[in-house]
């Protein structure tokens, strides 16, 4: 056992910190700190800045822009990025479809899609969930039927995050209705400008528009946009969802928000109860960060560590608890909103953020599903 980082890792960390805090557009970091929603252009500018510096997809295979870093280095990269209020690369691109294409895609698909995916020239959406297929993803019903050189897709996806910005959507579709439900699913890439694709907005409880329904009516998709083998979609989805869980505990972001909250608190920090809440949350967060470090120090190869469920579960709970603390710090001022208000911006964002973050324990495999995974695969229950 050893506490310190090696001199190389220490240098690596400083290099990251230096880049994120001095070479990255300040207005975007300021927007993140203020809790403002980023525009599409800001997301794109952000990721392209990172990509130009080789920092957008360092975890991909080296021939596609990966850096061959250790898991610990990847961890330090994420933490420093979040601590500096730099938006992380779009998860759909960097953590989901990118690694999937690199692992399962044909050479043509890799060449066609991986470079623009890394650079966010293509904005990907995730088209997995359907109204009746949430936690039970395998019961999805959107169909793709082979017709000559095309698949013809019909059905409806829902909860498509930022689908309004999407250029392409990676979908799970039913390609064989006659077998066990997991066995008849394939992954198909669909250009969202294809005739028959319709994106409809869903308004969320914080007033924002970040999710959508995506409808497919006789959408013709060239068959070479199938990822991997026909009917192998479930295996690919499991690989993707495993990756989704790894990055999902935003320790760096939560740490930054908690530290900012001390500034928001001002004189309220004189209250021992407020102090106690900070201490409790800081300690839980410390335990989570150290657990994340234990996981990265142990994980070998691409298989996610089973304890990544602990990170998702606890990470989202603490993230939500911190948003609750910030809302409480705003107190009666949290009712204020809009441009005509004199209440500080953070206090006006506190309640919408608190409400919006309820989603964190629902998506990406709900926290109940994570408990199920822990009970089953770790505890053998």
């Amino acid at each position: 056992m050893q506490l310190e980082l090696s001199p190389e890792d220490q240098a690596f960390r400083e290099e990251m910190r230096e880049f994120f805090t001095t070479k990255f557009p300040q207005e975007i970091r300021d927007a993140v700190i203020a809790g403002r929603e980023l525009t599409k252009e800001q997301h794109v500018e952000s990721q392209q800045t990172l990509n130009a510096a080789g920092l957008a997809v360092p975890h991909w295979p080296e021939e596609w822009g990966g850096r061959g870093w250790s898991d610990l280095q990847r961890h330090l990269w994420t933490e420093e990025m979040q601590a500096a209020a730099v938006p992380v690369p779009l998860a759909f691109n960097a953590n989901m479809i990118g690694p999937v294409l690199a692992q399962f895609g044909s050479q043509e698909l890799k060449e066609r899609f991986l470079p623009p995916t890394a650079n966010l020239d293509i904005w990907w959406s995730q088209g997995f969930s359907e109204p009746d297929a949430g936690s039970d993803l395998a019961s999805l019903r959107t169909t793709a039927v082979r017709d000559g050189d095309d698949f013809v897709v019909n059905g409806q996806k829902t909860w498509t995050t930022l689908g309004q910005y999407g250029d392409w959507i990676f979908t799970l579709v039913r390609t064989d209705p006659d077998v066990k439900k997991q066995a008849g699913i394939s992954m198909l890439l669909i250009d969202m400008t294809t005739p028959g694709v319709e994106v409809r907005p869903i308004e969320l409880i914080d007033g924002g528009h970040e999710v959508n329904e995506v409808w497919f009516t006789d959408v013709r998709v060239p068959a070479d946009l199938l990822v991997g083998e026909l009917n192998s979609g479930w295996t690919i989805a499991k690989f993707l969802l495993g990756n989704e869980r790894v990055g999902v505990a935003p320790v760096g972001t939560t740490k930054r928000v908690l530290a900012q909250a001390k500034e928001y608190a001002g004189a309220q920090l004189d209250d021992p109860f407020t102090r106690a809440r900070f201490v409790e949350l800081e300690n839980e967060l410390l335990a989570l960060e150290l657990t994340a470090l234990r996981v990265v120090a142990h994980s070998e190869g691409a298989e996610p560590h089973p304890a990544s469920s602990v990170l998702k579960l606890k990470g989202t709970e603490i993230q939500q608890a911190v948003s609750e603390l910030v809302l409480d710090l705003a107190g009666p001022a949290g009712l204020a909103s809009g441009d005509g208000s004199g209440v500080p911006e953070w206090a006006r964002h506190a309640a919408p953020t608190y409400l919006n973050l309820r989603k964190a324990s629902i998506y990406g495999g709900s926290n109940e599903i994570q408990r199920q995974i822990i009970a089953r695969t770790i505890l053998g229950l």
């Binding site: 969930s129 009746d132 949430g134 936690s135 039970d136 019961s139 829902t158 909860w159 869903i202 308004e203 969320l204 409880i205 914080d206 007033g207 999710v211 001002g266 004189a267 309220q268 209250d271 109860f273 407020t274 809440r277 939500q320 609750e324 809302l327 409480d328 705003a330 107190g331 009666p332 001022a333 949290g334 009712l335 204020a336 909103s337 809009g338 005509g340 208000s341 004199g342 209440v343 309640a351 919408p352 608190y354 409400l355 309820r358 989603k359 324990s361 629902i362 998506y363 709900s366 926290n367 109940e368 408990r371």
Partner: protein
């Protein structure tokens, strides 16, 4: 000792439930109502007035009905059940309550009569930058010149401050203490906005704005404000109980209808147990709120203050638990504005932060923990 409603109270509950239930039976109707200014239905407000509900807390000689806390609580709870956006709590219970407690007989008759008749919406302009549920005002100051008074400073957020026909404003008095004033909003600069639970609030800027002292000029009314805030806490507790009841009912009904993995969600014991825990939270909160309502009915301000803090603490804990779990057990659907459950959670949170959240009550109660050895809810006086 009797925790049940008598026949008249049951009839009142059914009448209110009938009225607001009809107005907001369809959640879409509430959505449309809160989307447009003033954020509530003037028609429903008039109907509440017609039924005598807006005058419920006020003496008959002031144009009211002279009912007790139990009746007011019944109304609040029914409004909570449908998330009725009408400003009953802030306009009637708080602003009206202050006029009732501190106004001169003429002021009471004039203001409360019009309020009871549904002709005037009142707002209590009290929160100031950094004030955090205090019963005193410091940022808005009152200046006296002979018999004329003016106020200067900023009040924000003022619930329904933009729609209000009359503001009840707290202000620091020249000789110390906090006074209350009636202010014609025409003399103030108001910026209204939508709050996160679909309500309305405003920033109110006063600049040498003419004001009429409520009650005797120059009188320190801080303890009156504190008592009315306590009443507001108890009534907010009722509103929260109504909202929690319905959020829980929506959740249990969803668990028995939503299918995943080929079975309804109530097949998963982990989920049914969590619904059971929500029920436990709700019942405990209901007991404290009902108890506090009965304590309030005794008219003892010190006991009421204690009971209000205890009830508010329990309600704060329960509202967060029930609101958060209602969303979680529904999954994604509860995150949408179109489905009601998220709005229940949002309103529960807004109620929680209106007059002091759980931690605030905890601090208040903790400061007094050495004053008693054991709590006896049936005791007739504190100390």
């Amino acid at each position: 000792m009797d925790f049940t409603y008598d026949d008249e109270q049951v009839a009142l509950r059914d009448a209110v439930r009938g009225l607001v239930g009809k107005a907001y039976a369809d959640f879409e109707q509430r959505r449309r109502t809160v989307a447009d200014d003033p954020g509530f239905s003037e028609k429903v407000w008039a109907q509440l007035a017609e039924m005598g509900l807006l005058g419920l807390p006020f003496a008959e000689e002031d144009g009211g009905v002279g009912a007790g806390p139990v009746e007011i609580g019944i109304v609040a709870q029914e409004l909570g059940r449908v998330l009725a956006p009408e400003p009953y709590l802030t306009s009637v219970v708080l602003a009206g309550g202050l006029v009732s407690a501190a106004g001169t007989p003429e002021q009471r008759a004039e203001v409360l009569g019009a309020l009871s008749a549904g002709e005037r919406v009142l707002a209590f302009a009290h929160d100031e930058e950094g004030s955090r549920w205090s019963s005193a005002a410091t940022a808005v100051t009152a200046t006296r010149d002979g018999d004329t008074w003016t106020l200067s400073g900023v009040k924000e957020p003022v619930p329904h401050g933009a729609r209000a026909d009359l503001l009840v404003v707290s202000a620091a008095l020249p000789d110390g203490g906090t006074g209350l004033f009636l202010v014609d909003p025409a003399g103030a600069e108001r910026t209204g906005y939508r709050t996160y639970d679909g309500g309305r609030a405003a920033r109110v800027v006063l600049e040498s704005t003419p004001a009429t002292p409520l009650g005797a000029p120059g009188q320190d009314l801080e303890s009156t404000i504190a008592t009315v805030q306590d009443i507001g806490r108890i009534m907010a507790g009722h509103e929260a109980l109504g909202a929690m009841e319905v959020a829980l009912a929506a959740t249990t009904s969803y668990l028995t209808s939503r299918k995943q993995f080929g079975v309804t969600l109530n097949t998963f014991q982990a989920l049914t147990f969590r619904a059971a825990d929500m029920y436990v939270s709700l019942e405990l909160a209901a007991s404290l709120v009902q108890w506090a309502t009965m304590v309030l009915a005794t008219g003892d301000a010190a006991r009421t203050a204690d009971a209000a803090a205890r009830a508010a603490l329990q309600v704060s804990r329960a509202s967060r638990h029930v609101g958060q779990e209602a969303i979680q057990l529904h999954g994604g659907i509860a995150m949408t504005a179109e489905y009601s459950v998220g709005s229940f959670a949002a309103h529960l949170s807004a109620l929680d932060h209106l007059l002091g959240d759980g931690q605030f009550q905890l601090s208040t109660l903790a400061a007094r923990v050495a004053d008693h050895r054991a709590l006896d809810p049936l005791e007739t006086s504190v100390g």
